[in-house]
């Protein structure tokens, strides 16, 4: 299944690296990344493949939350279907 990781917060050095690192450690493949910085606010969205993840969904989320805490950003990971069903007819 594919999941969407969103990272929102104040821009700083190394956010992308730290999130990618957490994904790589769990064998989570990053399919696509978009990123925008708007007046200091950083918003990154990653589409990831989690079928081969070596950790469970909960653990992955906790790891990402820890990255969020250390970079002062808010990180969510959610099943992509939630966005598909809400925004596509």
């Amino acid at each position: 299944m594919k999941a969407v990781i969103t990272v929102i917060g104040k821009d700083a050095v190394g956010i992308l690296a730290k999130v990618s690192d957490a994904c790589a450690k769990a064998s989570v493949n990053i399919v696509e990344v978009t990123q925008s910085v708007l007046q200091d606010m950083f918003a990154m969205i990653m589409l990831v493949e989690i079928d081969k993840s070596t950790v469970g969904f909960d653990e992955l989320r906790e790891n990402l939350n820890a990255v969020g805490d250390s970079t002062n950003t808010k990180i969510h990971i959610m099943h992509e279907d939630i966005f598909n069903s809400m925004h596509r007819i």
């Binding site: 969407v4 969103t6 929102i8 696509e32 978009t34 925008s36 918003a43 969205i45 589409l47 969904f57 909960d58 989320r61 808010k74 969510h76 990971i77 959610m78 099943h79 992509e80 279907d81 939630i82 966005f83 598909n84 069903s85 809400m86 925004h87």
Partner: protein, 453 residues
Amino acid sequence: MLETKDILETINMIDNENLDVRTITMGISLLDCIDEDIDKACVKVYDKICRSAKELVKTGEDIEREYGIPIIHKRISVTPIGMVAAPCQSRNVVKFARALDKAAKELGVNFIGGYSALVQKGFASGDYALIESIPQALAETDFVCSSVNIGSTKAGINMDAVKMMGRIVKQSAELTADKNCIGAAKLVVFCNAPEDNPFMAGAFHGVGEADTVINVGVSGPGVVRAALAKNGGGKDITEIADLVKRTAFKITRMGQLVAREASKRLCVPFGIVDLSLAPTPAVGDSVAYILEEMGLETCGCHGTTAALALLNDAVKKGGVMASSHVGGLSGAFIPVSEDAGMIAAAESGRLDITKLESMTAVCSVGLDMIVVPGDITPETISAIIADEAAIGMVNTKTTAVRLIPAIGKKAGERLEFGGLLGAGPVMPVREGSPEVFINRGGRIPAPLQALKN
């Protein structure tokens, strides 16, 4: 690839605008648990509920985590106990309430609905005993919810039941006077009760339903309000209705996804999505604030009924396309004590019970979570029920009454429930006694609207 702005919109709705799925409710038929021996029947009821809903809470939590959508409640509704209790020799029907409560605690659900009777046309065997036992059942249990349907467009209004329910509501409050009269908050009196409603306290599993079924109630007043605040400035009413529709569509799609997923994982058929805007006491998650966002100085002023009618209709139009099966109550709820904006309007005296009554003619439920003075007479409660049922009967819609007589308190004081039930000011009721009218008993004949064949 999904668009960034869409993704951020969803995240913002969840993080800042209280978007959630309000409830996943599993409906369970207890018709196969009927037994002449009440103790045997109770064991069967407990076993069937525990067996059917074993995975309900866990599945709900799993979906919540994976999809990142808060699912606030996992609940159960069952066949009206009045029917299950019908053949029992024993009149001690409260045993069923204890069995339901025990099952709810075992499973970790926070409400179980269906301690109910359907008496819109008359009382069947078991219904009298059940209704008489409601105050005790609600006082002795924590999670059991009760409802009684006393009227319908097809059957008219059973005024004997209306008379009885005035007393039962009052007794339910009296027996729980030391617990903020919570008993009455778990009791709903319906006209045209829906059989697939997932929302408490009025949920029960209708007899025409499948053995088990998953119904989902969505929510999201905060999201609608935020959409109006962000994009509603300077727009005319047509555009406002369109904005509400589009927002309701998105909210309902999420509910549909959760319902489908829960149904798949639990191997239980999907019943309906209930498209309701259900407020919570959390600031911002209020139906009253939506009405105020449309341009009313305060909820309750003239114009409130029109604004609510527009909101209720737009929610349905947006939601109905987003879900394969829509049912339950589907519309805007106006429970006073659970809505920060309604509480404020009632406390300032600008929203009174008569305005609320007219609002119920155009929204999805009725006089909901209204705290009334403790010295209210049972006949006055009955008369309020009759008025509300008449609105439902004539307009072919569901109406309900959930009044909480605040024992020992007078108009202007406050009753606190805490949690999702919130807190409410004691609201005055109209003067004059309806005693003779209520004591006549009998039935109000079904209106011409019933003769559609």
